[in-house]
């Protein structure tokens, strides 16, 4: 990313307050209501430092949970949860023919790392399932839970095809990434993207990110990484089942399942009609069988 021309206006290293439109300086984008914003996560650049996890917890005042070792590589949070809105997955693909360790190729190319989060779907199934309107689309095209409206019914939890939303055992309400809604309103880049030292997490306008991601895939193909592809961009895996595109999309180099992502996620509402039809057909079958049995007895 090029340094923004406005950077010359701020030569000092300490500031008295928040800079106006700070995201322009840190992410090269001015945040304006009515436009679509999101993340492009390039997993080939992730070094597993977990700065994003820490920045998310710091900004959102989220408590650490599952303190200890999971035994799953360097992963200590395990999964996304009500208290963990960014999760860095460590996928160690070291297995020889006998199941034991094999030689590690240069650049740790068999060690996959990915910073996972809420995908902020274009057609969010969690929002469709919410009966109170607590889940809503913001003016930045992101999906947020309003804590004062959420009644903790939990319908959004199974509706999410990515297993992102979780109810907190403490307050009984649904929690997930807000894409730093409060920071966006203040013109600030989301905390995770700002803290990412390798720009694996890039924040910006969706159309800009999608074209940037397509260029990165082309570049990787040119470098010999033929397995690179986008997950969640329009027309790619992840953008299936009427979800539209994902506002938080990824560049992957292995099958989605390897990263614990569904190959073809769908909206739960798509299954209502066939489920209802199956139920009605079953009831009709039982009724016909009962009529036949009772008719024979008479």
């Amino acid at each position: 990313m090029q340094v923004h021309a406005r950077a010359r206006d701020y030569p000092q290293s300490q500031f008295g307050g928040v800079l106006p439109h700070e995201a322009e300086l840190t992410a090269g984008v001015r945040i304006q209501p009515g436009r679509s914003y999101g993340f492009f996560t390039d997993t080939t650049r992730c070094i597993g430092c977990k700065a994003c996890e820490v920045a998310c917890k710091e900004w959102n005042n989220l408590p650490a949970d599952n303190v200890g070792l999971t035994g799953m590589s360097y992963d200590n949070t395990g999964a996304l949860s009500a208290n963990t809105w960014r999760h860095v997955a460590f996928v160690e693909k070291i297995a020889g023919p006998g199941g034991g360790p094999a030689e590690m190729p240069p650049y740790q190319s068999q060690w996959l790392m990915m910073s996972d989060l809420c995908k902020h779907c274009h057609n969010p199934p969690c929002l469709e399932a919410c009966p109170t309107g607590a889940l809503f689309k913001t003016e930045f095209d992101t999906v947020v839970v309003q804590q004062d409206i959420c009644n903790g019914c939990g319908y959004c939890v199974p509706a999410c095809p990515f297993g992102v939303v979780e109810l907190s055992e403490t307050d009984g309400k649904a929690h997930k990434c807000t894409l730093c809604y409060d920071r966006l309103k203040g013109g600030l880049e989301p905390a995770c993207a700002k803290s990412c030292p390798t720009d694996s997490i890039q924040f910006g306008e969706i159309a800009d990110l999608q074209s940037r991601a397509a260029e990165r895939v082309e570049q990787l193909h040119g470098l010999g990484v033929a397995s690179a592809y986008l997950y969640g961009a329009p027309g790619s895996p992840g953008a299936t089942g009427d979800l539209g595109h994902l506002n938080a999309f990824f560049l992957l180099t292995d099958a989605p399942e390897v990263y614990n992502l569904p190959r073809a996620p769908t909206r739960a509402s798509n299954r209502v009609r066939p489920s209802l039809a199956t139920g009605l057909a079953t009831m009709a079958g039982f009724a016909l069988a009962a009529i036949a049995l009772l008719g024979r007895r008479a």
Binding site: N60, N61, L62, P63, A64, D65, N66, V67, G68, N83, Q147, D148, G152, S168, T170, D171, G172, K173, H175
Partner: protein, 84 residues
């Protein structure tokens, strides 16, 4: 057995808040569903810098505590916080 700590709210985010205790340390709390206080009542307490008394339980395996109740002590009520 719940514990009680006094302090002032440094900042609040949804139902989570950081309390600067009388000993000067910061402690993170998450509002319990039965706390009798709603998340939107926390910012006024923060802005007023009112001294509050938090009844809480430790969270096993977590680095935060569960706030069961928040009270404004009588000696701090005068003209400061009316949120709770």
């Amino acid at each position: 057995m719940s514990k009680i700590v006094r302090g002032r709210i440094l900042f609040a985010q949804e139902g989570r808040f950081m309390l600067r205790t009388e000993s000067g340390t910061g402690q993170l709390f998450v509002l319990s569903h039965d706390a009798g206080v709603e998340p939107q009542q926390l910012p006024p307490l923060q802005h007023a810098q009112a001294e509050v008394e938090v009844e809480f339980d430790e969270t096993p395996g977590g680095l935060s505590a569960v706030a069961r109740a928040i009270r404004v002590p009588d000696d701090d009520l005068a003209g400061k916080a009316e949120a709770v």
